[in-house]
Assembly symmetry: C2
């Protein structure tokens, strides 16, 4: 965890984001709470991934992890592709200079209106069912345009050890792989440009061996399906699933074996069969998660029956995941710091709670922190992905926090 | 559960809300998904509570349960008081004709700005700590106004069997009861109008015996603290905590014993000691939770390895609690219906998922429903409280749903 905190700078006992001390940043923003994303850390993260990924593997950014327009604009200059999960995200992606075909649109519940928007934009629609395929064809006919599509595949294997399983067994995501050959045959007769496949089995995995095995299984499956395809695939989206460490004991993912594995799969398996296919990995959380912080101010410090509480002016309405209430089975503390006392030692354990009238609003349970008083800034790390947009911002009708890219 | 669904009307095989069939309502709203609250059910619910509560007990509405302005306006004509948890909710409450003093403002992280707003408005500030009391006094001095306050008390007992525990042991909520006498003495010397106490120990309780015991303990504690108070209390907020049934097997709360218990406490205990104190209960979820539905449209029906999925155009971004991801330890299905096929029998089990790219977006796991096709409307019940505002509406950048009071 300390590496996460150490990635941000320090100046005069203050944490810095993009070189700006957090207390000055709070003044610049106009108040607390706010999210701050560090532009240099984003760039460094993409560079790090690029430096180990085989050059022939394209890097996509999954906008859903952090759709702040400035973040998407910045990353769009660094990655090859963007993945979107709604028409709203698609508009944000289309505002960049990434070509429309390199914007992929996935998601199990695309409406007819969204499909028409996607066809009109010329983005690559990752179709999740035969029913959706029929609706894409109808949208193309209605608009007089030939839709660009890929088939999202629900594999016949699961990725154990993922934070979330999104493939294997019955799923709302994708077409069961055993149904894909028949679907590809049907689609060949339709007025569609079928580019290839998207196969994605799980997310937030911290084990390189598991990810390598998943990639091998994914490539095996893709090549098996390629045999049944009327035309050679020109696109193969292998998904992502690269995790980041959130909790004490989590170890950062080792990219090197993943990269070696991908290079071998590309050279030995994919290129001999699909020499010209674009091969992409798609990362969201991994690119942005560790580059952002959520900054709150201590409003009250109180003792209650032996527990010291720091009550801050933010809470789960802005950073739900840190409260342990979004997909987690067991609540654990996200890394926290007193951003205004980075040069001080821990002075006992405190419980950091948000300002909401609910016991769920717990940001740090008995955390060792320097002594903090009202006015100090409490910083929650790992807030760059699935932070603000994955939180119930209207809960209890507090003002929305600012977001800044520094 | 069936009683929840039966409370709404039917017409020609359609569920009705406020007498309007849901498919017609979708046209009127301009699309799906949306939340619809039934005005007549809200009125009936308040009438039901009023009919059993002792006439001398005031009924307050906790705005946080559903802050939609039209709902708050409607309820403000039926209840005696409003409770708010933020300056935003306070503005909504002040837009009604409820007198400011009958608006109570609770919450552990009130900022200085919020406290000034509350003092300026003349609402009753329910102070959660000695530190907050000092800030209220400062706000009053700054504005040249005498703040109206109550002390929120963290009791020395917990309410077992509550959905959420908010009292007993160490808490961020309220002042530990053993510290209250000293605080009251200090406050007597300050330029504050100390009206009384707010004691609230837990929420979402379905067991009348537990609630009766909690009320007895609460009154005991209040009267004990009254002895230490420099002046007789004029206000006693006993909280609420009345639960509603969400899941199969949950039984609706029986109000009669609670009401009898309150009447006895009032006559035998409170009135002899505090003859003129306003005594209030404060209900949020209980007044609105069962009066609202979340209406989505089926976008796709797909089979995957033996499971039938209905993919709808809404999801956890609008109704997080129904996905089991907000405070629940074990996910269970909220009551669901096919709003466009109320006259049809169940035709096998289906899994209802939202449109988001996450396996968390599960609205109904293997639910027995009539056969539904794309275009049909899926209705999620018990959506009147902690629905839209307790959900991550910006997640994946989908449009916000409409809310209507019918």
């Amino acid at each position: 965890m300390s590496s996460t905190i150490a990635a941000f700078g320090r100046s005069g006992g203050r944490l810095t984001v993009g070189g700006v001390p957090v207390d000055r940043l709070a003044e610049r923003v106009g108040g607390t709470p706010f999210f701050a994303y560090d532009r240099a850390l984003l760039t460094a993260r993409v560079d790090q991934v690029r430096s180990v990924l085989p050059a022939a593997v394209e890097l996509g950014y999954a906008v859903k992890a952090n759709p702040m327009p400035a973040v998407v604009q910045h990353l769009s200059g660094l990655v090859d592709a963007l993945d979107v999960a709604s028409a709203g995200e698609m508009r944000t992606a289309l505002d960049t200079t990434i070509p429309a075909q390199r914007i992929s649109f996935a998601g199990p519940g695309k409406t007819d209106a969204e499909l028409r928007q996607a066809v009109a934009a010329g983005v690559t629609i990752e179709m999740e069912s035969a029913g959706e395929a029929a609706r894409v064809i109808a949208a193309g006919e209605r608009l007089g345009l030939r839709p660009q599509v890929a088939v999202r595949v629900n594999p016949d294997f699961a990725v154990k050890g993922s934070g979330m399983r999104m493939g294997g067994g019955p799923q709302q995501f994708g077409v069961d792989c055993e149904q894909v050959p028949a679907l590809l045959k049907d689609l060949a007769a339709a007025d569609l440009d079928v580019l290839g496949l998207h196969i994605f089995a799980g997310s937030q995995c911290l084990d390189a061996d598991i990810l390598c095995q998943a990639q091998r299984n994914t490539v095996d499956l893709a090549l098996r399906l390629a045999e049944a395809a009327p035309e050679p695939f020109r696109y193969l989206n292998l998904g992502g699933g690269f995790g980041i460490p959130y909790f004490d004991g989590d170890r950062p993912l080792d990219l090197r074996p993943i990269s070696d594995n991908l290079a071998a799969l590309l050279a030995d398996r994919i290129r001999p069969r699909l020499p010209r296919a674009r091969v992409a990995v798609e990362l969201g959380r991994y690119l942005v998660g560790e580059c952002g912080v959520y900054v709150t101010r201590v409003v009250d410090r109180k003792e209650s029956r032996g527990t010291t509480y720091l009550v801050v002016d933010g809470g789960l309405h802005h950073q739900l995941a840190a409260s342990g209430n979004f997909g987690q089975v067991i609540r654990r503390n996200y890394p926290l710091a007193v951003g205004t006392r980075m040069d001080q030692e821990a002075a006992g354990k405190v419980t950091v709670v948000g300002s909401l009238c609910t016991p769920l609003d717990l940001l740090g349970d008995k955390v060792a922190l320097p002594h903090a008083e009202p006015g100090d800034l409490i910083v929650v790390f790992q807030a760059g992905a699935y932070g603000l947009t994955a939180s119930p911002t209207a809960f209890l009708s507090h003002p929305a926090p600012a977001e800044v890219l520094v």
